[in-house]
Symmetry: D3
Subunit: 212 residues, 6 copies
């Protein structure tokens, strides 16, 4: 029995000595300044299992809007447990005729998993400018490479549900329409850099709340 | 109209010049040798949208076995489109009483998304040796940091379904029981490095097909 | 003198033993398949100084086109010496009224150095959707973070010249107009994912050579 | 002489201008929160050579315990000078019959250098489940890939000494027995996820101080 | 119109929810401790376009010194906008006969762009010890792989101007002469580790202000 | 018993399906072209434990030379098992008065472990130009940050033995004297970029076999 206690003692020593630098995980302390590699870590001793579990994706997003769609993110801001771990998740709800408009994630690749319904999804390669799109059924997955323009829309007759996984805790989201028509980028400038008609830009700025 | 053609011409030139090095994606050519960063890429001109879509996760795995569970991977070997993109996916089916035994992924962190049923999941931190586990319901997600021992089992009364996302196209999977009892690691050696009883090791080796 | 020869001998031995794995650089062998980390390397013994020097940026690009601008890349496809080294370069010529339309680089951040003339440049942040733009004079530099929509145009009365540096040998280039209007992405689909008017899409597809 | 002073002056200017961002090294300030890339740096002006030297590995660890072995780490917590530099070190003392039980390093690969005695060491690959083990003599080195289960034990008749190097300042250490039997992971749960007999688990929990 | 307002509302919600974790960029807060991945970020809401523009490279450096050359850096310390973005820039002015002495950048590869004049530049590979050098004319670019000794000097009859880009916001700069002769490294030690004559070392220490 | 066989069967299936992409390790196939991330991998089925063990460091290097020192590397070229694993090793033998001349490793940080004797070691920081050096005794370790000039010499009265670990399988080695005086870099050029006296350069070129 004495031998047994000695093992215990040895192991305890072994671990106590390296305990200060444990970095199995790095739950984000959102109250501190972000860094290029992610948020500083909460002290491990203050972390419970709840830091690693997120329940916000169990509820459907509200699709009572024009795009008839909703994205519910579980990125580092909502789910601090993924900080530093190289991945995150989001829930997509698409009502009938719902659409996630053309967008990019500047900081991550994405895999979409269709759980219910039928979704048409696609992306456009950059320099070669090739379009890749396909209709996805329940259980199908599709990958969207980092930084490329892509879209998803409900191509079926029932609401669709999907989950998206990202290769970063903080993938970012840049919706092209939003970038062009929902801020104070001057209309003349939008016209200059997109070749869209002035009236078209004004029309969409009115819809999306853009000024100038 | 001449002007219009000129734009077209300009863009075409612009793109043709950089076309040779397009690397928006790198669909794995599994016939070539792997490298530390992943497989060499198929020629983009031979790639179609099917390289980016995988349909194998739509079908339930066969859970008619002792663990009453099945894992269906969509890693780079099954889904070459994720090569080089930093993520992959798998489907988990757990019949009632099903369990995914204690295991690690040496090369990736994991996020589990529960689609149906109730799953109890947990992981154990390394040096601090703290256990984090919780019962997850439909829609809950949990993150398992890279390289740490973790497990999942069906804690409900109906079959459970979940999808796992990984922060690598090739996360690896090391089931502790399999490593100890399902190969030719000599029994004496297992005893020596685990302190398990000789009879216990022999018993599980018999079950799992281990020799020596 | 014997001592001196011995040094020489020692050094020669020291180096010959590790010569096989020299990887100070990795000049791209463009004839082999790309990998997620870049092209396989040419044998160092076949590499001369010319692999590390590129003279193609000394000549102005042809700006006799509608956008009155030209981009001349020195990415890995044109300049194999940058393979694996984490950076590349391009030359921008903007005639009076020239414009580089809205675009992203999916794989790199960019720094622009104005050598001659006056350039107005800007980018749009993703989730926060803030526009950052400014007029740059000779000698000014501006940074454009990876994956974000940005643009440059000549805002002066003389031709402008600038060099762009990128944080990757293969930054990619996705011009939004080109992605939407210069390929076979169906018009209905463009309308669906951008909210642009059908006529607007058709008009620009005609200009840029898009079909469907 | 005036010329000489001018050189000096020029160099001084050159360096003073970039001095604020010197990051040749980043000695860990363990009083601040860790980040995913390591600890924040001490101000370089407060750092002396002692930050880069560690003398704790010169003394044998205490092997008067059941495993007859001791591991003395020089990870970032003990040796803040390795912070951000991608490597660390540890000393292994194995008395006759000493053993380092089955374990993984979730965050690093390891190279073992045998300095004295004879050590039998091995690792088990993940998905392919192959065992690689060999007896190492003085001067032999062996590499253990990141995250894989491995072990070392003294297979000779004299005490053995070895040094281990790791590809991270903070490799982590998860001893399988410790994870299973030395914390509050409920016995029923251990049985469920390992298929070990209940009595076996209880027996080892008693030895290693586990509860529940 | 109501529909339009709803879009706006949806988008606003979508973005407000992930706003806290926006990390399109990470402008350095130089008042906080550096980390291995760069400086902590300024709060995005306090950042204006001026953080992304640097005007210090528009003015020639002072070359009235012995080396007849000047380097003006736009590294993270001078240009906080490049923090975390993987690149930076510097201006090189070389008067007639000007020279940038032998040096390395421990943390980055470099691309040099010649804007005016003629520059002879070269680097030396490490283990194979091969010299690569060439005369560069206006518009030529040359790449210098990370960590290798290299040099540049004006080989023409007019002043030369060049810009250098680096694959890190903080490339570092170690001028060999400065390391050997401009600090307190004891003369005996310099002799021992370089085989230079004692008198030679003393002579250059006198020029460059070295002591001991 | 039937149940047991079923487990076995399940596990076998589980593993066979992902076997093709096993990348626990990537033993270098030195017959193929290197890539920026390392050599392509040998087929795992052809790899034995001998790929992970290297016995070449058990024998002292030959120090019967002017520097009275020898470095025996176990980099990827000598020890293909470390390919892709982020670390490597070397043996240093220093006879009495032996010295490893001033050098850098362009691709790795280093930790030195003194096994026998007394070694004086130091490095010089880059922009700040500070010298850090200290006498190391048996068991002491010292870290040398990536790319910085450093040196080691025997400062005791008996032969010294040390092992060096590196944070890369291919750290590179650039000895300053060798780069300056042991190749065909023209003497005038060496003088120009180092300010050394012409005679000094000629003298050392004669010793080290340099030409021109």
């Amino acid at each position: 029995m004495k031998m047994f206690l000695t093992i215990l003692f040895t192991f305890a020593l072994l671990f106590s000595s390296s305990q200060a630098s444990v970095q199995d995980f790095c739950v984000a302390d959102l109250s501190l300044s972000d860094t290029p590699s992610g948020y500083p870590c909460k002290k491990p001793s203050t972390v419970t299992v709840d830091a690693f579990v997120f329940s916000g994706l169990g509820v459907a997003g509200n699709t009572s809007n024009l795009i008839k769609a909703a994205v519910t993110p579980a990125f580092v801001a909502q789910f601090p447990g993924v900080n530093g771990l190289g991945l995150s998740t989001a829930r997509l709800d698409l009502a009938v005729d719902g659409v996630i408009p053309l967008h990019t994630h500047p900081g991550a690749s994405e895999v979409l998993i269709v759980i219910q319904g039928t979704i048409c999804a696609g992306f456009i390669s950059s320099s070669a400018n090739v379009v890749y799109f396909k209709t996805l059924n329940k259980g199908d997955i599709m990958v969207f490479p980092q930084g490329l323009l892509h879209f998803q829309f409900n191509s079926g007759k029932i609401p669709a549900l999907a989950f998206a996984s990202f290769s970063s805790p903080n993938p970012g989201l840049q919706i092209t329409d939003f970038a062009l028509f929902a801020n104070d980028l001057p209309t003349e400038l939008v016209v200059k850099v997109t070749f869209l008609d002035f009236a078209q830009v004004k029309k969409l700025k009115a819809v999306l709340g853009g000024t100038n």
